[in-house]
């Protein structure tokens, strides 16, 4: 395993080292120590690496990740795994706002809670949150799945497109055009797979499904008051 002391060697050296690794590298296991809340840790990785960050991170950790498995053994700052393309990002603690924003693929697992706007504008990513999510989560979510094992805050799924939302606990309120939908067997199976990938032993039958009513997809003056 490669151990990288971020405090001693610096952010540029870290990301340059990670970017230099191609898909056939044997140097796949990395440990980053002394992150001390630094921003942009392990961003733009494009290789099947296994990276563990020992401590909490600042903004945009694992941003635009492709292929790598990145674990934060601590809490993550805003925008963790933003625009992730593929791979897996695991946060052992809590995640700040915009977790998984605009993510296009891969799986983001948050073992603790996620703050507001979790999964904002998500475009295909799967997000599994073991705890609660804050207000405006899945705002304008276009595609992918958001699983919330705890409670969801206000205006869940506001202006939602085709993303699927699963919540086990309470939902404080639904956003514009977001409705509860029938949980059919295929959704239970999908959720079961998501929970397995999210390292979560929750029972899929305890969840409710939410999605778009698709009433605001096209302009209609009679819907103007919905916003």
């Amino acid at each position: 395993m490669q151990t990288f002391d971020l405090e001693a060697e610096g952010l540029r050296a870290l990301n340059a080292s990670l970017h230099a690794l191609k898909g056939d590298t044997n140097t796949t296991a990395w440990e980053i120590i002394n992150p001390r809340g630094s921003h942009a840790i392990a961003v733009g990785v494009d290789a099947p690496l296994d990276i563990t960050v020992r401590g909490s991170t600042g903004y945009y950790c694992a941003g635009m990740n492709k292929l790598a498995t990145i674990r934060v053994a601590g809490n993550a700052g805003p925008g963790v795994a933003e625009n992730m393309m593929s791979g897996t990002v695991i946060i052992d603690g809590d995640a700040s706002q915009y977790a998984g924003a605009t993510g296009r693929g891969g799986t983001l697992v948050i073992k603790g809670n996620a703050a507001s706007r979790c999964g904002i504008s998500m475009k295909g990513i799967d997000i599994v949150v073991h705890g609660n999510v804050g207000h405006m989560s899945a705002f304008m979510a276009q595609s992918g799945n958001l699983v919330v094992c705890g409670d969801a805050g206000e205006a869940l799924g506001d202006s939602l497109y085709e993303a699927r939302l699963f919540v086990r606990g309470s939902v404080k309120s639904l956003g514009a055009d977001c409705i509860e939908k029938e949980m059919r067997p295929e959704h239970v199976e999908l959720l079961r797979d998501l929970l397995v990938r999210g390292d979560c032993d929750a029972d899929p039958s305890e969840f409710r499904r939410y999605g778009s009513a698709r009433k605001l997809y096209n302009f209609d003056i009679d819907n103007a008051s919905a916003y």
């Binding site: 733009g44 903004y59 945009y60 805003p78 625009n83 296009r104 904002i120």
Partner: protein, 445 residues
């Protein structure tokens, strides 16, 4: 009661200057539909502009350069502050961001071809990067917009520069709009949206708010791209002194400043005409901000919004811009609003020169459409050549003016070369009114 006898001279019918025929027609349209008017383009109202400025030229106090013999350089380097690979352009006129989706694939290709032939850059838009434009653009600027449609690290790395779009002049504070007629299979796939919906982009970025966050966002983009690419920050013309200051403090290599005449693919007419300030009013405060930070020319300023002629290019640069960007003018050069299609414009209830329903996708010129039959009307090779020719004329015209003012580089043009024709333009551009030494607002009066 008035006497309408034929023997009595009659007062001519008087139209209201407040309730004009145009205003009344909009009231009737609104009453019939219950929804605001949506259109493309920039502000159409008359505002103080470059036409209200004049160059003084050379005489006894300054001597000119020979128009056909002495060199006047036009090249510009953008991104010299932090980027390892600044971009080098042969001319200081760039092509502004316009999306695939708003424009056809052939139109994007034509923009790339024309820009490349002229030695300048073109820019993606709110829809991601297409192969057409990457393949035909030697220098391509990749926009990072609030929607993040099509955003991915591979395209970030394929780009020559990155432009974080905070706002644009036509709709500062507003997001993009693309109606269902233009959300075809390909556009829908690129944007990860259902086909045929009315797409309304976000106006705020999903993962940052405010200048402190922007600084970190720029750091992330630099780290992903190895600090190679120049990072632009594009702002709409609202509070140019403060917005320029904050963009630079956030780490921008280049500030792109777009006045209210700058176009959009589609938004509300009321937004276009009533939010934001004219391009002319933007430039001096932005340059002042750069000068106050000691970074004028180190952080480059690109000005856009209503650039039409080489005179406009020269005036923007004399006021302190390093380069300009064109959007609407580039579309016209490709063939937009060409009288050749007048009969079809008439069928759409408009006329050549006034057509602005770009969002409807029925563009007779085949530029602002996703209809394959209409799009096939635009030959990207021929249109690219027209754009190249137009860019060449802009450059030659600007050089003509610069030489007449005694400068061997467009970048040596300066405010002292200019005067203003109106008090308003003098105040906005901080120039003396022609024939006087009076700069309104300067010196406390």
């Amino acid at each position: 009661m008035n006497d309408h006898s034929p023997k009595i001279p009659q007062t001519l019918p008087r139209q209201s200057a407040t309730f004009t025929n145009e205003i009344n027609s909009e009231i009737r349209r609104a009453a019939a539909t219950g929804i605001y008017d949506i259109r493309g383009g920039g502000a159409k109202r008359r505002v103080p502009h470059f036409d209200d400025l004049l160059f003084l030229g050379a005489s006894v106090s300054r001597y000119p350069l020979e128009g056909y013999r002495e060199k006047c350089t036009t090249n510009v380097t953008l991104g010299t502050r932090f980027a390892k690979k600044p971009i080098e352009l042969a001319i200081p006129v760039t092509i502004a961001g316009m999306s695939f989706g708003a424009l056809s694939g052939a139109a994007k290709e034509a923009l790339g071809r024309g820009a490349t032939l002229a030695g300048t850059s073109t820019t993606t838009g709110d829809g991601g990067m297409t192969e057409e434009e990457r393949g035909h653009s030697k220098t391509l600027v990749y926009q990072v917009l609030p929607s993040r449609y099509g955003m991915n690290p591979d395209d970030l790395r394929r780009a020559d520069a990155i432009e974080v779009v905070v706002g644009q002049g036509a709709k500062p504070g507003g997001g993009g709009m693309l109606l269902g007629q233009k959300i075809t299979d390909r556009v829908a796939e690129m944007r990860t949206l259902p086909k045929g919906i009315d797409q309304r982009s976000a106006c705020r970025h999903p993962d940052w708010t405010g200048p402190d966050d922007l600084e970190i966002k720029i750091l992330e983009l630099r780290e992903i791209t190895g600090w190679e690419k120049p990072i632009y920050v594009k702002i709409g013309g609202t509070r140019p002194y403060y917005d320029t200051t904050l963009a630079v403090k956030a780490g921008a290599d280049v500030v792109v400043l777009d006045g209210m005449q700058g176009g959009t693919a589609a938004t509300q007419d009321v937004f276009i005409e009533h939010v934001g300030i004219p391009t002319l009013a933007c430039i001096r405060p932005a340059v002042q901000a750069l000068q106050d930070m000691g970074l004028h020319r180190e952080v480059q300023l690109i000005v856009s919004g209503g650039i039409r002629t080489g005179a406009d290019v020269a005036k923007a640069m004399a006021l302190g811009a390093d380069a300009v960007a064109i959007g609407t003018a580039a579309m016209v050069a490709l063939g937009d609003n060409d009288p050749h299609w007048e009969a079809e414009y008439q069928k759409l209830g408009t006329t050549a020169g006034a057509y602005d329903d770009w969002h409807e996708g029925r563009d007779p010129a085949g530029i602002t459409t996703q209809d394959p039959d209409l799009a096939a009307r635009l030959d990207p090779i021929a249109a690219g050549r027209r754009l190249r020719n137009y860019l060449s004329v802009l450059t030659l015209e600007a050089q003509t003016i610069a030489r007449a003012c005694g400068h061997n580089s467009l970048h040596n043009l300066e405010p002292e070369d200019l005067c203003a024709l109106t008090v308003e333009a003098a105040a906005m551009a901080r120039l003396p009114l022609a024939g006087t030494n009076w700069i309104p607002g300067a010196g406390g009066y």
